[in-house]
Amino acid sequence: MSIPLFLVQLLNGLQLGVLLFLVSAGLTLIFGVMGFINLAHGALYMVGAYLAFTLTGVTGSFLLSLLLVFPAMFLLGLGLDTLVFRHFYDRDHLDQVLVTFGLIVILDEAVKMIWGRAPLSVPIPAALSGSITLMDGLLYPAYRLAIIGAGLAVAVLLSILVTRTRAGMLVRAGATNARIVAALGVNIRGLFMLVFGVGAMLAGFSGVMAAPIFALEPGMGDAFLILAFVVIVTGGIGSIRGAFIASLLVGLVDTLGRSFATDLLKLTMSSSAAGRIGPALASMSIYILMAAVLFFRPAGLFPAAGRA
């Protein structure tokens, strides 16, 4: 294990973290503000990616398809909110779990029917197809730097939106106590619809950004869904800052765990035992992290005010 390799893995971990943040930002917003468990968030990420595939194929431009996905996902979010989810904001969390899970199953199968079962690929946009040399023989695609940039931009933007704008203030107030906010004459219905639309948009955006590096497959959102929930619960539900820190932590722990678990274990036990336990431990690492955080701080690292 060399210093350059370690630094490279550190970068990989941070980049994974930023991508996780992109995926979980929308989820924590929806869960935090509306108390709505949206299991379909991973499926929305998938829809965003598949839309990017079709739009890039049709328009020939990744940038154009990215810009088009924003309104498409926003409208999809509004549609889902109006048609289905609005009936569930007052209902038990478990009913929300049931309805959003039903939606995942429908969306996963619909994608199979429309785009087929075979994995699909979106090419990296030409403008970002360059790369930098990280260490001897290892190139780092410029596109991954773009993902990091996009994630940081979203983090900053959301932060400003939530803490510095009136809408953001209403969102935070709505997260603390929706009824009082409604009683004060604010259109809570409209607010929730907006938040859901933004959440769907963020999910779709993360799907589009991820598409050039990851294969598209029906059900691709499922793995991300679990990771996103790990992130937002570790970070504190409803907290953008919590989601950001937790994403980086999860990304780092997962990547460094995978990279070095086996090597570290080899220091204390036989090579074959380490080869067995290492991957298993690496798979569990993020769950161990989450369980440890929750044990000491059951509401997460940075619980949104009023939720501790």
């Binding site: 569930f88 478990l94 049931l98 309805v99 939606l103 199953v105 429908i106 199968e109 769950y287």
Partner: protein
């Protein structure tokens, strides 16, 4: 009144009679599918105790299925597959796992509890996946079903069907009594008014942990029987998707009704079995069922039938 005495007896009679009154082919099918439905019903019942009655939404419950199943598998692989050893082992290990993980999980609430139980479930899954000597991710085929004190009583599918039915009935009666008992009343109160319960002098955490351990042990029983019924065990029985399915059986059927999990298990296992033969893209229909049930059958199907409001 008739619901309390007559309905359960009627259900048991129908289920018991089913393999006997149908033709040989259909009977074998009824035994195979019915066994699977009943085993999931036992697992779903155990989840209802904590999810429905105590409001503890566990997303890692399938881990106990895995523990019970691997108890059966490992003992069989070591040639000591007997119910007298296996069953207590499955119950004890499940209870211990529930006790240890529950102790940590009880400190959290709501979404955090959901996720921490998921975390433990995933850890159990990855652990099972790494057991190369027991097949790892490919799993293990049992040489035979467990013997009962040395006697090869369970090898007949039909006999095992009745054994499973008996276990289901016992679990149902036990849980019904537990829920109606003082412990049960206190447990139910911790869902709505934990502060009041504490003020009355009860240790809310102890009550919940006890319920969690009982639920874990019962689910371990279901897992032990499942491994014997299919004569196979693998980590696939303890994925988070399976934990989710158990949750849906309880929610769809109707939480805190005890009949709900029975109905939910039968409906979901049945739908998956039948729908998959008709259309390549049958999961869309299943998703639609979940959607419609969530929209219109508030509180699950049982509550819809009863006309109750959540």
């Amino acid at each position: 009144m008739w619901t309390r005495r007559l309905l359960p007896a009627l259900l048991v009679a129908v289920v018991a009679a089913l393999p006997l009154v149908t033709s040989a082919d259909t009977s074998a099918f009824a035994v195979t599918l019915g066994s699977r439905m009943m085993l999931f019903a036992i697992a779903a019942l155990s989840l209802d105790l904590i999810l429905g009655y105590a409001g503890m939404v566990s997303f890692g419950h399938a881990a106990f299925i895995g523990i019970g199943a691997y108890a059966a598998g490992i003992l069989d692989a070591e040639n000591v597959g007997d119910v007298m050893i296996g069953l207590p082992l499955a119950l004890v290990v499940s209870a211990l796992f529930a006790g240890a993980t529950g102790y940590i999980a009880i400190r959290t609430k709501g979404a955090a509890f959901l996720m921490i139980t998921l975390a433990f479930g995933q850890m159990a899954f990855y652990l099972a996946n790494s057991l190369d000597e027991f097949g790892g991710s490919d799993g293990l085929t049992l040489n035979n079903r467990a013997t009962v004190a040395g006697a090869d009583l369970l090898s007949s599918d039909l006999t095992f069907y009745y054994v499973i039915l008996a276990c289901l009935v016992l679990v149902f009666i036990f849980l019904r009594a537990l829920v109606a008992s003082r412990f049960g009343r206190v447990l139910r109160s911790t869902k709505e008014h934990p502060l009041r319960v504490a003020a009355l002098g009860y240790n809310v955490d102890h009550v919940r942990l006890t319920a969690y351990v009982i639920a874990g042990a019962i689910c371990g029983l279901a897992g032990y029987l499942m491994a014997n019924q299919t004569e196979f065990v693998s980590p696939a029985s303890m994925t988070w998707q399976t934990s989710g399915e158990l949750m849906f059986m309880v929610i769809l059927g109707g939480m805190s009704t005890l009949y709900g999990p029975l109905l939910g298990a039968a409906v979901i296992v049945g739908l998956e079995n039948f729908l998959s033969g008709y259309w390549e893209h049958w999961p869309i229909l299943l998703g639609a069922v979940y959607l419609v049930a969530a929209l219109f059958a508030r509180g699950g199907i049982v509550n819809l039938i009863r006309g109750a409001k959540p």
